[in-house]
Protein backbone atom coordinates (compact mmCIF):
# COMPACT_ATOMS: atom_id res chain seq x y z
CA UNK A 1 0.00 0.00 0.00
CA UNK A 2 1.26 3.51 -0.74
CA UNK A 3 1.76 5.64 2.37
CA UNK A 4 0.18 9.03 2.92
CA UNK A 5 2.89 11.21 4.44
CA UNK A 6 3.50 14.87 5.12
CA UNK A 7 6.56 15.97 3.18
CA UNK A 8 8.23 18.87 1.38
CA UNK A 9 9.37 18.68 -2.25
CA UNK A 10 12.99 18.44 -1.13
CA UNK A 11 12.07 15.51 1.09
CA UNK A 12 10.18 13.67 -1.64
CA UNK A 13 13.03 14.18 -4.10
CA UNK A 14 15.38 12.58 -1.56
CA UNK A 15 12.82 9.84 -0.89
CA UNK A 16 12.44 9.14 -4.62
CA UNK A 17 16.23 9.01 -4.94
CA UNK A 18 16.41 6.48 -2.09
CA UNK A 19 13.76 4.32 -3.75
CA UNK A 20 15.49 4.54 -7.14
CA UNK A 21 18.68 3.47 -5.33
CA UNK A 22 21.06 4.85 -7.98
CA UNK A 23 24.65 3.71 -8.46
CA UNK A 24 26.10 7.23 -8.24
CA UNK A 25 25.02 10.61 -6.90
CA UNK A 26 27.50 13.49 -7.24
CA UNK A 27 26.27 16.78 -5.84
CA UNK A 28 27.12 20.08 -4.25
CA UNK A 29 24.69 21.82 -1.87
CA UNK A 30 22.92 25.08 -2.72
CA UNK A 31 19.90 26.84 -1.23
CA UNK A 32 17.04 25.93 -1.61
CA UNK A 33 18.02 22.51 -3.00
CA UNK A 34 20.54 21.63 -0.25
CA UNK A 35 18.18 19.29 1.60
CA UNK A 36 17.71 17.03 -1.41
CA UNK A 37 21.26 15.72 -1.31
CA UNK A 38 21.70 16.34 2.41
CA UNK A 39 18.85 13.96 3.25
CA UNK A 40 20.03 11.56 0.58
CA UNK A 41 23.59 11.57 1.94
CA UNK A 42 22.13 10.46 5.30
CA UNK A 43 20.52 7.50 3.51
CA UNK A 44 23.96 6.68 2.12
CA UNK A 45 25.61 7.00 5.56
CA UNK A 46 22.91 4.78 7.08
CA UNK A 47 23.45 2.11 4.46
CA UNK A 48 19.93 2.38 3.10
CA UNK A 49 21.16 2.63 -0.51
CA UNK A 50 24.02 1.08 -2.48
CA UNK A 51 24.92 4.50 -3.92
CA UNK A 52 28.45 5.84 -4.30
CA UNK A 53 27.98 9.43 -3.07
CA UNK A 54 30.57 11.84 -4.47
CA UNK A 55 30.79 15.03 -2.40
CA UNK A 56 32.41 17.29 -4.96
CA UNK A 57 33.73 20.85 -4.58
CA UNK A 58 31.43 22.61 -7.06
CA UNK A 59 28.44 22.11 -9.33
CA UNK A 60 30.72 22.07 -12.35
CA UNK A 61 32.45 19.09 -10.77
CA UNK A 62 29.11 17.57 -9.73
CA UNK A 63 27.88 17.44 -13.30
CA UNK A 64 31.32 16.33 -14.54
CA UNK A 65 31.33 13.44 -12.06
CA UNK A 66 27.78 12.53 -13.07
CA UNK A 67 28.86 12.50 -16.72
CA UNK A 68 31.82 10.23 -15.92
CA UNK A 69 29.59 7.89 -13.92
CA UNK A 70 26.81 7.79 -16.48
CA UNK A 71 29.37 7.10 -19.21
CA UNK A 72 30.10 3.91 -17.29
CA UNK A 73 26.50 2.87 -17.89
CA UNK A 74 25.34 3.26 -14.29
CA UNK A 75 22.26 5.02 -12.95
CA UNK A 76 23.21 8.54 -11.95
CA UNK A 77 21.22 11.27 -10.19
CA UNK A 78 21.92 14.73 -8.82
CA UNK A 79 20.22 17.94 -7.72
CA UNK A 80 20.88 21.67 -7.75
CA UNK A 81 19.40 25.16 -8.09
CA UNK A 82 19.99 28.60 -9.59
CA UNK A 83 23.71 29.58 -9.55
CA UNK A 84 24.58 25.91 -9.17
CA UNK A 85 22.74 25.09 -12.39
CA UNK A 86 24.39 28.06 -14.04
CA UNK A 87 27.80 26.79 -12.92
CA UNK A 88 27.02 23.40 -14.54
CA UNK A 89 26.24 25.12 -17.82
CA UNK A 90 28.93 23.81 -20.16
CA UNK A 91 28.67 20.33 -18.66
CA UNK A 92 24.88 20.24 -19.22
CA UNK A 93 25.57 20.28 -22.95
CA UNK A 94 28.17 17.51 -22.60
CA UNK A 95 25.67 15.28 -20.76
CA UNK A 96 23.02 15.66 -23.45
CA UNK A 97 25.49 15.56 -26.37
CA UNK A 98 26.92 12.27 -25.11
CA UNK A 99 23.33 11.00 -24.64
CA UNK A 100 23.72 10.25 -20.94
CA UNK A 101 20.42 9.62 -19.08
CA UNK A 102 21.22 11.57 -15.91
CA UNK A 103 18.21 12.69 -13.86
CA UNK A 104 18.48 15.92 -11.87
CA UNK A 105 16.19 17.56 -9.33
CA UNK A 106 16.25 21.32 -9.89
CA UNK A 107 14.71 23.59 -7.28
CA UNK A 108 13.81 26.74 -9.20
CA UNK A 109 15.43 29.88 -7.82
CA UNK A 110 16.15 33.30 -9.28
CA UNK A 111 19.54 33.92 -10.86
CA UNK A 112 21.79 36.69 -9.58
CA UNK A 113 22.20 39.62 -9.81
CA UNK A 114 20.72 41.03 -7.59
CA UNK A 115 21.29 38.00 -5.37
CA UNK A 116 18.08 36.28 -4.36
CA UNK A 117 17.36 32.81 -2.99
CA UNK A 118 13.64 32.68 -3.79
CA UNK A 119 11.61 31.23 -6.62
CA UNK A 120 11.39 32.14 -10.23
CA UNK A 121 12.09 30.08 -13.33
CA UNK A 122 15.08 32.02 -14.68
CA UNK A 123 17.55 29.24 -13.86
CA UNK A 124 15.95 26.40 -15.82
CA UNK A 125 14.65 28.76 -18.52
CA UNK A 126 18.24 29.80 -19.10
CA UNK A 127 19.10 26.13 -19.60
CA UNK A 128 16.20 25.50 -21.97
CA UNK A 129 18.32 24.93 -25.07
CA UNK A 130 20.96 22.64 -23.54
CA UNK A 131 19.32 19.45 -24.79
CA UNK A 132 17.83 18.32 -21.48
CA UNK A 133 14.20 17.32 -21.08
CA UNK A 134 12.48 19.69 -18.62
CA UNK A 135 9.49 18.69 -16.51
CA UNK A 136 7.87 21.25 -14.18
CA UNK A 137 5.84 20.41 -11.06
CA UNK A 138 2.80 22.16 -9.60
CA UNK A 139 3.02 20.62 -6.14
CA UNK A 140 4.96 18.20 -3.95
CA UNK A 141 3.11 15.15 -5.25
CA UNK A 142 3.94 16.03 -8.84
CA UNK A 143 7.58 16.60 -7.91
CA UNK A 144 7.74 13.03 -6.60
CA UNK A 145 5.76 11.49 -9.47
CA UNK A 146 7.70 13.42 -12.13
CA UNK A 147 11.05 12.37 -10.69
CA UNK A 148 10.15 8.67 -10.90
CA UNK A 149 8.86 9.03 -14.46
CA UNK A 150 12.00 10.95 -15.44
CA UNK A 151 14.15 7.85 -14.91
CA UNK A 152 12.05 5.90 -17.42
CA UNK A 153 12.04 8.75 -19.94
CA UNK A 154 15.78 9.41 -19.73
CA UNK A 155 16.82 5.77 -20.00
CA UNK A 156 14.59 4.78 -22.92
CA UNK A 157 16.68 3.56 -25.88
CA UNK A 158 15.01 5.96 -28.34
CA UNK A 159 15.55 9.00 -26.10
CA UNK A 160 18.73 8.63 -23.95
CA UNK A 161 18.71 12.23 -22.87
CA UNK A 162 19.18 13.75 -19.42
CA UNK A 163 16.08 15.04 -17.63
CA UNK A 164 15.67 17.85 -15.12
CA UNK A 165 12.60 17.75 -12.89
CA UNK A 166 11.83 21.09 -11.32
CA UNK A 167 10.00 22.26 -8.27
CA UNK A 168 9.41 25.83 -7.07
CA UNK A 169 12.00 27.03 -4.56
CA UNK A 170 10.68 27.41 -0.98
CA UNK A 171 7.04 27.45 -2.17
CA UNK A 172 7.28 23.68 -2.74
CA UNK A 173 10.81 22.78 -1.67
CA UNK A 174 10.22 23.84 1.93
CA UNK A 175 6.44 23.59 2.39
CA UNK A 176 4.75 20.51 3.76
CA UNK A 177 2.03 18.77 1.82
CA UNK A 178 0.25 15.48 2.24
CA UNK A 179 1.65 13.20 -0.44
CA UNK A 180 1.25 9.62 -1.45
CA UNK A 181 4.60 7.85 -1.44
CA UNK A 182 4.76 4.49 -3.21
CA UNK A 183 6.26 1.36 -1.69
CA UNK A 184 9.94 0.78 -2.44
CA UNK A 185 9.20 -2.42 -4.30
CA UNK A 186 6.52 -0.71 -6.41
CA UNK A 187 8.98 2.01 -7.43
CA UNK A 188 11.64 -0.55 -8.28
CA UNK A 189 9.20 -2.43 -10.51
CA UNK A 190 8.06 0.78 -12.20
CA UNK A 191 11.54 2.07 -13.03
CA UNK A 192 12.84 -1.41 -13.88
CA UNK A 193 16.43 -2.55 -14.21
CA UNK A 194 19.00 -0.04 -15.43
CA UNK A 195 19.14 -0.78 -19.19
CA UNK A 196 22.50 -2.06 -20.38
CA UNK A 197 24.70 0.62 -21.94
CA UNK A 198 28.32 0.75 -22.99
CA UNK A 199 30.80 1.44 -20.19
CA UNK A 200 34.00 3.42 -20.63
CA UNK A 201 35.49 1.28 -17.84
CA UNK A 202 34.94 -1.95 -19.80
CA UNK A 203 38.57 -2.67 -20.76
CA UNK A 204 37.55 -5.82 -22.65
CA UNK A 205 35.45 -3.70 -25.04
CA UNK A 206 37.17 -0.33 -25.23
CA UNK A 207 35.71 2.57 -27.20
CA UNK A 208 36.21 6.29 -27.64
CA UNK A 209 33.57 8.62 -26.18
CA UNK A 210 33.34 12.31 -26.99
CA UNK A 211 35.96 12.40 -29.74
CA UNK A 212 36.78 15.60 -31.59
CA UNK A 213 33.94 16.05 -34.07
CA UNK A 214 34.63 18.88 -36.49
CA UNK A 215 32.92 20.04 -39.69
CA UNK A 216 32.37 16.52 -40.96
CA UNK A 217 30.48 14.84 -38.06
CA UNK A 218 29.31 17.39 -35.44
CA UNK A 219 26.21 18.26 -37.47
CA UNK A 220 25.17 14.60 -37.82
CA UNK A 221 25.54 14.04 -34.07
CA UNK A 222 23.45 17.13 -33.27
CA UNK A 223 20.80 15.98 -35.78
CA UNK A 224 20.76 12.60 -34.02
CA UNK A 225 20.36 14.31 -30.65
CA UNK A 226 17.44 16.36 -32.00
CA UNK A 227 15.78 13.10 -33.04
CA UNK A 228 16.16 11.77 -29.47
CA UNK A 229 14.34 14.84 -28.17
CA UNK A 230 11.66 14.38 -30.85
CA UNK A 231 11.24 10.72 -29.85
CA UNK A 232 10.57 11.81 -26.28
CA UNK A 233 7.37 13.42 -27.59
CA UNK A 234 5.98 9.92 -28.14
CA UNK A 235 7.35 8.47 -24.93
CA UNK A 236 6.42 11.04 -22.28
CA UNK A 237 2.61 10.61 -22.58
CA UNK A 238 2.98 6.81 -22.61
CA UNK A 239 4.96 6.86 -19.36
CA UNK A 240 2.44 9.34 -17.90
CA UNK A 241 -0.43 7.03 -18.79
CA UNK A 242 1.32 3.93 -17.46
CA UNK A 243 1.97 5.80 -14.22
CA UNK A 244 -1.72 6.74 -14.05
CA UNK A 245 -2.95 3.23 -14.82
CA UNK A 246 -0.77 1.85 -12.04
CA UNK A 247 -1.01 4.52 -9.38
CA UNK A 248 -4.10 6.59 -10.25
CA UNK A 249 -2.39 9.89 -11.08
CA UNK A 250 -2.27 10.51 -14.84
CA UNK A 251 0.28 12.79 -16.51
CA UNK A 252 0.58 14.36 -19.95
CA UNK A 253 2.44 17.29 -21.52
CA UNK A 254 -0.08 19.72 -20.12
CA UNK A 255 -3.18 19.76 -17.95
CA UNK A 256 -6.30 21.45 -19.32
CA UNK A 257 -8.38 23.00 -16.56
CA UNK A 258 -11.93 24.06 -17.51
CA UNK A 259 -10.74 24.87 -21.02
CA UNK A 260 -13.44 23.12 -23.11
CA UNK A 261 -15.85 26.04 -23.51
CA UNK A 262 -13.53 28.80 -22.30
CA UNK A 263 -13.25 32.12 -24.12
CA UNK A 264 -10.35 33.27 -22.02
CA UNK A 265 -7.45 31.28 -20.63
CA UNK A 266 -4.04 31.56 -19.07
CA UNK A 267 -1.01 29.33 -19.64
CA UNK A 268 1.08 28.78 -16.56
CA UNK A 269 3.84 26.55 -15.15
CA UNK A 270 4.77 25.47 -11.64
CA UNK A 271 3.16 26.11 -8.29
CA UNK A 272 1.20 29.26 -9.26
CA UNK A 273 -1.04 26.99 -11.35
CA UNK A 274 -2.66 25.94 -8.05
CA UNK A 275 -3.47 29.53 -7.08
CA UNK A 276 -4.70 30.25 -10.60
CA UNK A 277 -7.04 27.24 -10.59
CA UNK A 278 -8.78 28.70 -7.53
CA UNK A 279 -9.27 31.98 -9.39
CA UNK A 280 -10.65 30.08 -12.39
CA UNK A 281 -13.13 28.36 -10.05
CA UNK A 282 -14.25 31.72 -8.59
CA UNK A 283 -14.76 33.23 -12.05
CA UNK A 284 -16.60 30.12 -13.22
CA UNK A 285 -18.95 30.52 -10.21
CA UNK A 286 -19.68 34.00 -11.56
CA UNK A 287 -20.57 32.39 -14.90
CA UNK A 288 -17.46 33.56 -16.71
CA UNK A 289 -16.02 31.26 -19.35
CA UNK A 290 -12.40 31.06 -18.22
CA UNK A 291 -9.89 28.23 -18.15
CA UNK A 292 -6.26 27.37 -17.61
CA UNK A 293 -3.57 25.35 -19.34
CA UNK A 294 -0.83 24.13 -17.04
CA UNK A 295 2.28 23.28 -19.02
CA UNK A 296 4.15 20.39 -17.41
CA UNK A 297 6.75 19.62 -20.08
CA UNK A 298 8.71 22.58 -21.45
CA UNK A 299 11.35 20.48 -23.26
CA UNK A 300 10.44 18.92 -25.59
CA UNK A 301 7.98 21.71 -26.37
CA UNK A 302 4.65 20.02 -27.20
CA UNK A 303 3.56 22.47 -29.92
CA UNK A 304 0.73 20.31 -31.33
CA UNK A 305 -0.77 19.77 -27.90
CA UNK A 306 -0.63 23.51 -27.19
CA UNK A 307 -2.22 24.33 -30.54
CA UNK A 308 -5.13 21.93 -29.99
CA UNK A 309 -5.68 23.12 -26.43
CA UNK A 310 -5.63 26.84 -27.20
CA UNK A 311 -6.75 27.46 -30.78
CA UNK A 312 -10.43 27.81 -29.87
CA UNK A 313 -9.77 30.27 -27.05
CA UNK A 314 -10.27 33.94 -27.92
CA UNK A 315 -7.74 35.56 -25.61
CA UNK A 316 -4.80 33.77 -23.98
CA UNK A 317 -2.60 35.23 -21.26
CA UNK A 318 0.82 33.61 -21.00
CA UNK A 319 2.34 33.66 -17.52
CA UNK A 320 6.14 33.86 -17.53
CA UNK A 321 7.97 33.46 -14.23
CA UNK A 322 11.21 34.60 -15.91
CA UNK A 323 12.14 37.58 -18.02
CA UNK A 324 14.25 37.08 -21.11
CA UNK A 325 15.29 40.76 -20.89
CA UNK A 326 15.01 40.98 -24.66
CA UNK A 327 12.57 43.90 -25.04
CA UNK A 328 9.88 41.46 -26.27
CA UNK A 329 8.72 38.93 -23.67
CA UNK A 330 9.54 36.14 -21.27
CA UNK A 331 10.63 32.71 -22.58
CA UNK A 332 7.25 30.95 -22.66
CA UNK A 333 5.46 33.54 -24.80
CA UNK A 334 7.36 33.07 -28.09
CA UNK A 335 6.99 29.29 -27.89
CA UNK A 336 3.21 29.58 -27.50
CA UNK A 337 3.14 32.04 -30.42
CA UNK A 338 5.07 29.56 -32.55
CA UNK A 339 2.66 26.75 -31.61
CA UNK A 340 -0.34 28.81 -32.74
CA UNK A 341 1.12 30.39 -35.86
CA UNK A 342 -0.06 27.56 -38.12
CA UNK A 343 -3.57 27.60 -36.69
CA UNK A 344 -6.36 29.24 -38.69
CA UNK A 345 -7.93 30.50 -35.50
CA UNK A 346 -5.29 32.58 -33.83
CA UNK A 347 -6.22 33.67 -30.29
CA UNK A 348 -5.09 37.10 -29.15
CA UNK A 349 -1.99 36.58 -27.01
CA UNK A 350 -0.41 38.61 -24.28
CA UNK A 351 2.54 37.93 -22.00
CA UNK A 352 2.58 38.57 -18.25
CA UNK A 353 5.84 38.43 -16.35
CA UNK A 354 5.19 37.72 -12.68
CA UNK A 355 6.71 36.47 -9.44
CA UNK A 356 10.37 37.27 -10.11
CA UNK A 357 12.69 36.64 -7.18
CA UNK A 358 9.93 35.00 -5.16
CA UNK A 359 7.55 37.97 -5.34
CA UNK A 360 4.32 36.74 -3.77
CA UNK A 361 1.60 35.86 -6.28
CA UNK A 362 -1.83 36.32 -4.75
CA UNK A 363 -5.28 35.49 -6.08
CA UNK A 364 -5.75 39.23 -6.69
CA UNK A 365 -2.78 39.18 -9.09
CA UNK A 366 -4.35 36.39 -11.13
CA UNK A 367 -7.74 38.16 -10.97
CA UNK A 368 -6.03 41.25 -12.38
CA UNK A 369 -4.65 39.17 -15.26
CA UNK A 370 -8.12 37.84 -16.06
CA UNK A 371 -9.67 41.32 -15.95
CA UNK A 372 -6.98 42.49 -18.40
CA UNK A 373 -7.84 39.55 -20.64
CA UNK A 374 -11.58 40.36 -20.48
CA UNK A 375 -10.73 43.90 -21.49
CA UNK A 376 -8.79 42.62 -24.49
CA UNK A 377 -11.73 40.37 -25.41
CA UNK A 378 -14.06 43.38 -25.28
CA UNK A 379 -11.88 45.82 -27.21
CA UNK A 380 -10.19 43.30 -29.52
CA UNK A 381 -6.95 45.12 -28.89
CA UNK A 382 -3.95 43.41 -27.28
CA UNK A 383 -0.47 44.41 -26.24
CA UNK A 384 2.51 42.14 -25.96
CA UNK A 385 3.80 42.40 -22.40
CA UNK A 386 2.84 43.52 -18.93
CA UNK A 387 4.59 43.05 -15.58
CA UNK A 388 2.28 41.82 -12.80
CA UNK A 389 3.00 42.51 -9.13
CA UNK A 390 5.84 44.99 -9.60
CA UNK A 391 5.71 48.48 -8.06
CA UNK A 392 5.21 50.80 -11.03
Amino acid sequence: MPQRLTKTANEVFAEAMRQINPDVVAAYPITPATEVVQIFSQFVADGKVKTEFVAVESEHSAMSACIGASACGVRTLTGTSSQGLAYMWEMLYIASGLRLPIVMAVVNRALSSPINIHCDHSDTMGARDCGWIQIFSENVQESYDNFLQAVRIAEHQDVRLPVMVTTDGFILSHCLEVVEVLEDETVRKFIGENPERKSILDVENPFTLGALDLQDYYFEHKRQQAEGMKNSLNLIPLIGKEFGDKFGRYYDFAESYKLDDAEIAIVIMGSTAGTAKDVVDQLRDEGKKVGLLKLRVFRPFPANVIQKALENIKVVGIMDRADSVNAISGPLYPEICTSLYDSDKKPLLVDYIYGLGGREVREEDIQLVFSELFNILKTGKTYNLKYIGVRE
Binding site: L98, D216, Y217, Q224
Partner: protein, 94 residues
Protein backbone atom coordinates in the same frame (compact mmCIF):
# COMPACT_ATOMS: atom_id res chain seq x y z
CA UNK B 1 39.31 8.05 -53.16
CA UNK B 2 36.69 10.00 -51.24
CA UNK B 3 35.94 8.89 -47.67
CA UNK B 4 32.43 7.48 -47.23
CA UNK B 5 30.90 9.45 -44.37
CA UNK B 6 28.05 8.05 -42.31
CA UNK B 7 24.63 9.72 -42.10
CA UNK B 8 23.14 10.63 -38.73
CA UNK B 9 20.94 7.53 -38.92
CA UNK B 10 23.94 5.25 -39.54
CA UNK B 11 26.08 6.59 -36.69
CA UNK B 12 26.01 4.83 -33.31
CA UNK B 13 24.03 6.75 -30.67
CA UNK B 14 26.06 9.58 -29.14
CA UNK B 15 29.63 10.57 -29.94
CA UNK B 16 30.97 7.01 -29.86
CA UNK B 17 33.89 5.65 -31.88
CA UNK B 18 36.07 2.54 -31.88
CA UNK B 19 39.01 2.60 -29.45
CA UNK B 20 42.51 3.81 -30.26
CA UNK B 21 41.62 6.22 -33.04
CA UNK B 22 44.60 8.42 -32.15
CA UNK B 23 46.83 5.79 -33.80
CA UNK B 24 45.25 6.75 -37.12
CA UNK B 25 45.75 10.44 -36.54
CA UNK B 26 49.36 11.14 -37.48
CA UNK B 27 50.22 14.31 -35.60
CA UNK B 28 53.83 14.32 -36.82
CA UNK B 29 52.98 16.70 -39.65
CA UNK B 30 52.37 19.45 -37.11
CA UNK B 31 56.14 19.58 -36.54
CA UNK B 32 58.28 22.55 -37.54
CA UNK B 33 61.46 21.37 -35.80
CA UNK B 34 62.52 17.78 -35.20
CA UNK B 35 64.74 16.02 -32.65
CA UNK B 36 67.89 14.39 -33.94
CA UNK B 37 69.73 11.76 -31.89
CA UNK B 38 73.53 11.95 -31.44
CA UNK B 39 74.54 8.34 -30.53
CA UNK B 40 78.10 9.14 -29.39
CA UNK B 41 76.80 11.49 -26.66
CA UNK B 42 73.89 9.25 -25.55
CA UNK B 43 74.24 7.38 -22.23
CA UNK B 44 70.85 5.61 -22.62
CA UNK B 45 69.43 7.04 -19.43
CA UNK B 46 66.05 7.18 -21.27
CA UNK B 47 65.00 10.43 -19.63
CA UNK B 48 63.82 11.44 -23.13
CA UNK B 49 61.61 8.33 -23.23
CA UNK B 50 60.07 9.26 -19.86
CA UNK B 51 59.60 12.92 -20.76
CA UNK B 52 58.09 12.54 -24.24
CA UNK B 53 54.38 13.47 -24.01
CA UNK B 54 53.55 11.61 -27.25
CA UNK B 55 55.34 8.28 -26.66
CA UNK B 56 57.40 9.09 -29.74
CA UNK B 57 60.75 7.93 -28.27
CA UNK B 58 61.14 4.25 -29.12
CA UNK B 59 63.50 1.86 -27.33
CA UNK B 60 65.01 -1.51 -28.05
CA UNK B 61 66.63 -3.76 -25.43
CA UNK B 62 66.32 -0.96 -22.86
CA UNK B 63 68.30 1.39 -25.09
CA UNK B 64 67.36 4.36 -27.24
CA UNK B 65 66.25 3.13 -30.66
CA UNK B 66 64.65 5.95 -32.69
CA UNK B 67 62.08 8.76 -32.79
CA UNK B 68 58.64 7.95 -34.18
CA UNK B 69 58.22 10.88 -36.53
CA UNK B 70 54.61 9.89 -37.29
CA UNK B 71 53.69 11.20 -33.84
CA UNK B 72 56.55 13.48 -32.67
CA UNK B 73 55.20 17.04 -32.73
CA UNK B 74 58.65 18.58 -32.30
CA UNK B 75 57.99 20.05 -28.85
CA UNK B 76 61.66 19.71 -27.89
CA UNK B 77 61.10 18.46 -24.35
CA UNK B 78 63.44 15.51 -24.99
CA UNK B 79 66.26 17.81 -26.09
CA UNK B 80 65.63 20.11 -23.15
CA UNK B 81 65.70 17.27 -20.62
CA UNK B 82 68.66 15.34 -22.08
CA UNK B 83 71.53 15.62 -19.53
CA UNK B 84 74.28 14.96 -22.12
CA UNK B 85 72.99 17.11 -25.02
CA UNK B 86 72.58 13.98 -27.11
CA UNK B 87 69.45 15.35 -28.80
CA UNK B 88 69.47 18.46 -30.95
CA UNK B 89 66.50 20.16 -32.56
CA UNK B 90 66.77 20.82 -36.27
CA UNK B 91 64.54 22.74 -38.63
CA UNK B 92 62.21 20.53 -40.68
CA UNK B 93 63.14 20.17 -44.34
CA UNK B 94 66.74 21.06 -43.69
Amino acid sequence: MEEKKLTWKQLPQGDVLEAGTSLKFKTGNWRSIKPVHIPEKCINCLICWMACPDMAVKTKDDKFSHFDYDFCKGCGICAHECPTEAIKMEKEGK
